[in-house]
Amino acid sequence: MIPAAFDYHAPKSLAEAVGLLSQYGDGAKVLSGGQSLLPLLKLRLGQAAHLVDIGRIPGLEYLKEEGGMLRIGGRTRESALEYSDLIRSRYPILLDTALVIADPLVRNMATVGGNLAHGDPGNDHPATMLVLGAQVVATGPKGERVIPIDKFFLGLFSTALKPDEIVTEIRIPMPAPRSGGAYVKFERKVGDYATAAAAAYVTLGADGTVASAGLALTNLGPTPVRATAAEQQLVGKKPDAGALEAAGKAAAQATSPNADRRGAPDYKKEMGRVLSVRALKKALERAGGH
């Protein structure tokens, strides 16, 4: 399959890339790892007159802790998360997530920034970033702006990014003591989008009750779903089996899945419930609560 014709640009700097995006407006798309964009163009589900490849701009691939935050360069490859000792030891929820994105070959190209910027509710990083309280740094003609992740996903394939902005960094607060997170995905086979998946992040108080909770689901609505009611009802409670079951039920109620080859809406909601409980349990274990 051959994409429709387009012009290709390989800027050497961020300023040059943003300039090209400003010049071509809606006709341009950012090419990062290309693992979502190129299949879309090949299947001709989408078209772009101009691709602006950010692959030759230095300084966009890194993982580091600085200023109380984990900072992930926008073009950091998913495989870099897999092989990072920092991620393995301090952010196992990000390792959970990276390991279930597509397959190992795709992850050598696919990027964290691209996974978010694509705005696909089937992508795996969005739910994880929602529960981690991430910030997306977008660079445009006026410089950087920081978008809280809760304001980032606007609709199906639609994000808060402007056509002339590039995701240059993702910031995640460093883990608090007695906190832990997990991402649990149910897929038909390796490489598939989630039938359902859940991300959970919990911080425990000194008395063993939940001080804060994050719970979000993948591919169960037009955007990644943040299960706010479930989060709120966990806070202040002892995270026993009953509390987790109740949170799972509340999470499932927040979803609005479509029927497709992965299942009927009721089935997907039920998977959302089950996976929410599993993700919470694993997050609690990692927080040291069980």
């Binding site: 190129l38 691709l51 597509a102 795709v106």
Partner: protein, 156 residues
């Protein structure tokens, strides 16, 4: 329609090519450079038959633009054999019957090559995870895993 003149190093040899923006890397390799060992299977980023190494990393060449490879080092299955001697990975697939129809084999071998370059003694689970982006519809993977294990034993 934009064209670009690019230079790629494939299996140690430099090539210049004039390519359309939309040309996929796998088509550059097969149709312009006539390196047809790299196969096109699904053409939808699933099957891994088109796997090659891009600066040492295994990637699906049906999902990379040729122009993205400008100035970079590529290795294809044709680059495994040296001086008429099969690479231990090729020998492993031969010895352990790691193929039936052979269609997925070039991709399987390139992924295996990259795995063994970073992990000389992979466990069976690590092998199975590493090849999880390469589909074989004949073997059930048992002999492919054995072939990679055999290659690991015979690597210099």
């Amino acid at each position: 329609m934009a064209t670009h003149t690019i230079e790629v190093t494939v299996n140690g040899e430099k090539h210049q090519a004039t390519v359309e923006s939309r040309l996929l890397l796998v088509h550059l390799l097969r149709e312009q450079l006539r390196l047809t060992g790299t196969h096109i299977g699904c053409d939808t980023t699933h099957c891994g038959a088109c796997t090659i190494l891009l600066d040492g990393q295994p990637v699906k060449s049906c999902t990379v633009l040729a122009v993205q490879a400008d100035g970079r080092q590529l290795t294809t299955v044709e680059g495994l054999e040296k001086d008429g001697k099969l690479h231990p990975i090729q020998q492993g697939f031969w010895d352990k019957h790691g193929l039936q129809c052979g269609y997925c084999t070039p991709g399987m071998m390139m992924t295996s090559y990259a795995l063994l370059a970073r992990n000389k003694k992979p466990t069976e689970l690590e092998i199975r995870e590493a090849i999880s982006g390469n589909l074989c519809r004949c073997t059930g993977y048992v002999n492919i895993v054995k072939a990679i294990q055999s290659a690991a034993e015979h690597l210099p």
